[in-house]
């Protein structure tokens, strides 16, 4: 037990989780922006934009995140020599954020699109019938309902993103799963308690996010 408590003094467990949270926040912003643009592409009446959105989603959704991360670090940084910062750690952190954003943008796009698809055609027709033109119809009638419909899939994407920040270990970012690996390597006899510490840490972060998503989507559900 003593050895276990010393681990907390020796390793910065909270700091590692803080790294996961920072990755989550930045990649959530990045993937939300990119995903929204892609969703607009996919529901636009312009054929070529739809094609771009669809190909992006199909390609990225079917690629393992690990490959995207490794491609970033070994190929784009290692071979193409694209550097974001002279500080090594910061450079890899930025790479991790970009890889996470690229990957989850595909899921954000699908979440928003599925939200738009929950709005019945009649809503738009009714909006036009009372004389609303495109922008007011979108702003007042369609999008508010679409966003509420998108809450559950968006919440699920955010949860998956939070867990996937561990893959940043492939870019040698100092986050919780990598720290766990180091801790077990040096204290194999405490393997189970180390694992449980990190695992419960993720439970504490992830489970409330799930409850919040369910609560929000129930509370904001559109009655039809």
């Amino acid at each position: 037990m003593n050895g276990f408590l010393e681990l907390f003094a020796e390793y910065d467990i909270i700091g590692a989780f803080w790294m996961n949270i920072r990755l989550t926040i930045l990649a959530a912003i990045g993937s939300f922006v990119l995903g929204t643009v892609l969703a607009v592409f996919r529901i636009s009446p312009v054929g070529s934009l739809r094609a771009i959105g669809t190909s992006y989603v199909n390609v990225v959704r079917n690629t393992p995140l690990t490959i995207i991360m490794v491609l970033g670090v070994l190929a784009v940084w290692g071979q193409l020599k694209i550097t974001f910062s002279s500080d090594f750690a910061l450079n890899f952190f930025i790479y991790a954020v970009i890889a996470l954003s690229i990957y989850h943008a595909a899921f954000v796009c699908e979440a928003i699109r599925s939200g738009v698809n929950t709005v019945p055609q009649g809503q738009a027709e009714a909006a036009r019938a009372i004389g609303l033109s495109f922008l007011p119809a979108a702003r007042v009638v369609v999008l508010p309902q679409a966003l509420r419909g998108a809450i559950t899939p968006l919440g699920n994407t955010l949860i998956a993103l939070t867990k996937n920040t561990t893959v940043a270990a492939a870019a040698s970012v100092a986050e919780a799963s990598g720290l766990m690996k180091t801790m077990i390597e040096f204290n194999p006899d405490l393997m189970v308690s180390i694992f449980l510490t990190i695992a419960i840490g993720f439970c504490i972060i992830v489970i409330p996010m799930g409850l919040l998503t369910t609560w929000l989507s129930d509370k904001l559900a559109v009655a039809r």
Binding site: N58, L80, T157, F195, G210
Partner: protein, 295 residues
């Protein structure tokens, strides 16, 4: 006939059609510019050199690297699909049990495995198999990563499937259960003979989507030293200093396999909808609890 895809846009008139044409042209130009910029950048770093691509695509690359790698990827994923199904069915049944404590225990186990990142699970299992199981002689220590990947994929995806079973049964019309009760079936018989079989039919498309998730997550094995497609591609790439090319090929292999599976899943969802009282929509996020859709 409406031609557009979504609720937001009305059928285009002459002016809208002209604008669409212009936007198409603009998008084409932007895409071309991006492609050219990427090619220039690739060329500047000498990544378009023919031998780099040839070495990433020749017979040696396929027979000695991609195909053996793919074999291990599919082998581990295939085994994990089966074991995850078994795990999922057992815990799905437990979560529907009439006896409270069984439901709660299953609930805690399922929620725990869904909340813990697969990579954390794999790191732990790798050490568990290499430091605790291997010394007993039960498995070769070289196989620790292999078992770590399979068990890690099993518990996470098994927990997801358990949720699928539960939500599949819950989404069945109430009449199914009532009819089973009316012909004198016990609670257990109703679950086993009426509800779960229908839920399983309804789940088939989502199971296929889960297979895609498993194949993608098997690439995490790379981080614990499991020799799968990504690991082999990286090895090939370091050997011929064409890592960019080999990783692109590996990514394309993953994309093609997963794309076919995804496509098949959506076809299947359409065909099966008449065979169950439940929902066969390619289940992603909306029909089940949180934390399931992605990964």
């Amino acid at each position: 006939m409406r031609t557009q895809a979504t609720v937001l846009f009305d059928a285009p008139g002459p002016r809208a059609r002209r604008n669409i044409l212009l936007s198409n042209a603009a998008a084409l130009v932007v895409v071309l510019v991006i492609v050219v910029l990427v090619l220039i950048q690739l060329n500047a770093q000498d990544q378009l050199a023919p031998d780099k691509w040839i070495n990433a695509l020749n017979a040696n690359a396929w027979t000695n690297y991609y195909l053996p790698g793919l074999q291990f990827t599919l082998q581990a994923s295939g085994i994990a699909v089966v074991t995850a199904m078994v795990f999922g069915l057992i815990f799905g049944f437990m979560r529907l049990a009439p006896f409270g404590p069984i439901r709660w225990i299953a609930g805690v186990v399922v929620e725990f495995f869904r909340a813990v990142p697969v990579l954390v699970m794999m790191f732990f299992l790798y050490f568990f198999f290499s430091r605790i199981v291997a010394p007993t002689g039960l498995i070769a220590s070289a196989d620790a990563a292999y078992y770590g990947v399979i068990v890690g994929l099993t518990v996470y995806n098994g927990a997801v499937i358990a949720e699928l079973v539960r939500s599949g049964v819950k989404s069945l019309p109430k009449g199914q259960r009532e009819a089973a009760a009316a012909v004198g079936m016990t609670n257990n018989q109703s679950l086993r003979l009426v509800e779960v079989p229908q839920a399983l039919t309804a789940m088939l498309p989502s199971l296929l989507s889960q297979f895609v998730v498993i194949i993608k997550d098997s690439a995490l094995g790379y981080l614990i030293g499991f020799y799968e497609l990504l690991q082999y591609s990286r090895q090939l790439g370091s050997g011929y200093s064409n890592i960019l090319q080999t990783l692109v090929v590996a990514a394309l292999i993953f994309i093609v396999i997963n794309f076919i599976l995804t496509w098949f899943a959506s076809k299947l969802a359409g065909r099966l909808s008449s065979r169950t009282g439940g929902d066969t929509a390619p289940v992603t996020s909306t029909t089940m609890g949180p934390a399931l859709a992605v990964k």
